[in-house]
Amino acid sequence: MTTVYRKSAGLQDRELHYCPGCSHGIVHKLIAECMEELGLIDTAILVCPVGCSVFAGNYFACDCIEAIHGRAPAVATAVKRTHPDQLVVTYQGDGDLASIGTAEIVHAAMRGEKFTTVFINNAIYGMTGGQMAPTTLLGQRATTAPHGRMKEIHGSPIRMAELLSTMDGLAYAERVCVADIPHLNKAKKAIKKAFEVQLAGKGFSFVEVLSACPTNWGMTPLEANKWLLENMAAYYPLGVIKEVEEG
């Protein structure tokens, strides 16, 4: 029998707890595949967030550290500074990175810390049940914005890739999504590129993944991906946001 597809060695052989249609599982797979293809599973250190992916350390095959809410960039800073030759990655959601942990991510980028952040932007708080995130779109409903996000009350959603790209220490930032196969393939390339930028010592690298949360959006997985491409990608432009050739 010929093997045409197998689970990446970068993942443990465990059942994921994520909801149907959630992007986390796909992004886990892409990160794991990139680690495997670059031969980094044995040396990588992944720093996990608080949010739905709080259990990511149970799924990845590399060593993992679970950080307190928002603090993954501080944790990763210390890990990378003390293990400069190893791949260090933070995996963070929008509440974690763009709300409670804004100081940590901005200062890690400012210092040009040589680790990679994979930022899961699904425009909602997933684990706690659908509260408004700093990335929730205008008009989008959340359990703490029952009439939808309103600019005059809540302000406009934050574009983290653009904000962080103002920092000289950021060497590479790209926004991607995994809503269909062509986009998924681009997302994998971006993650691999970010790892390569890190290993080349060019600076901080950042991949923002527009992600679906069908459960808290109140949609089917297919509707969620369609909504993401039509609405999120319109506000959060896909593509390379910044790339510095020489670090």
Binding site: V54, G57, E66
Partner: protein, 359 residues
Amino acid sequence: MDTTVEKELWKGNEAVAEAAIRAGCKCFFGYPITPQNEIPEYMSAHLPEAGGVFIQSESELAAINMVYGAAASGVRAMTSSSSPGISLKQEGISAMCSGELPGVVVNMMRGGPGLGTIQPSQCDYFQATRGGGNGDYRTIVLAPCDIQEAVDMTQEAFDLADIYRMPVMILGDGMIGQMMEPIVWHDIPKRELPSKDWCASGRKGRDHSNFITSLRIDAPDSEEFNRHLEAKYKTIAEKETRWVEKDTDGCEIIIAAYGTPSRIALSAAEELEAKGIKVGLFRPQTVWPFPSERLAELAAQPSVKAILVVEMSLGQMVEDVQLAVKGAKPVRFYGRVGGMVPSVEEIAEEAEKILQEVR
């Protein structure tokens, strides 16, 4: 007397920083706050020279979480701050206790509450000895009374942290941080340290991955872990409780104090002795675990009429003294707060007053 021993004059904060480097501290993360700024300043100059990492973090929250990261990946790390900054660090201290991560946290206490004052105080005793952040946890709390002891304790703190896999706090006060005193550098007793095979520093051939976490979402697992901490804390209380006593045998009054007030109490005791009053001094070196058993034994002596607790607070350690003595003898309190330091005369006068009342 050995006259060959070299004494050096050191400022408390700088001495603590140098002691940490000598103890093999490889990372320091901190945020400026008075009266402990000489610690990060010294570290910024000397830790990189020693092959370590110094980062002035964006906040105390980031600093303690950097300590968490270094510790999780197997590296000796330290942070320091003063009272309001230590409040911010409690998030990370609680997480380190839950993730069972070693690290050293220095608190050069200043007056509170809120921004309070930059003058010395002992108003964080409750916070230091009861946990301070969320959850049922303790940290080992070493309370130096002078710079020599601050230096020795800082070096030992790293070993204690590694042995018990938990944060260890050096609880000083602004006076100890800012004062200069002669000290002697000497080797601290070597202790056997456990392997850090639990750490997340990359698998490097290990047949399984390590995952450091403070989350145990299933209640039975979480209870089991809390019971494990309980057992660990019991072991620490049995093995690591320390104190110093002076002239306690057959004394009439015990003065109990830690840190700076314990030294003032020493002078007060000399004044009282000159008047024929037998004073015993009891100084906890670990304020958690608190030396309750020994204090209870001393208080039970028929000669002891009362115990006077002196603190630079409104009365915090006095509660541990009351718990230890269990009403066997009167426990009285004298404290100065807000950055004020009790004087020798105040303590002596208070002791005499108490004795007149209880005799």
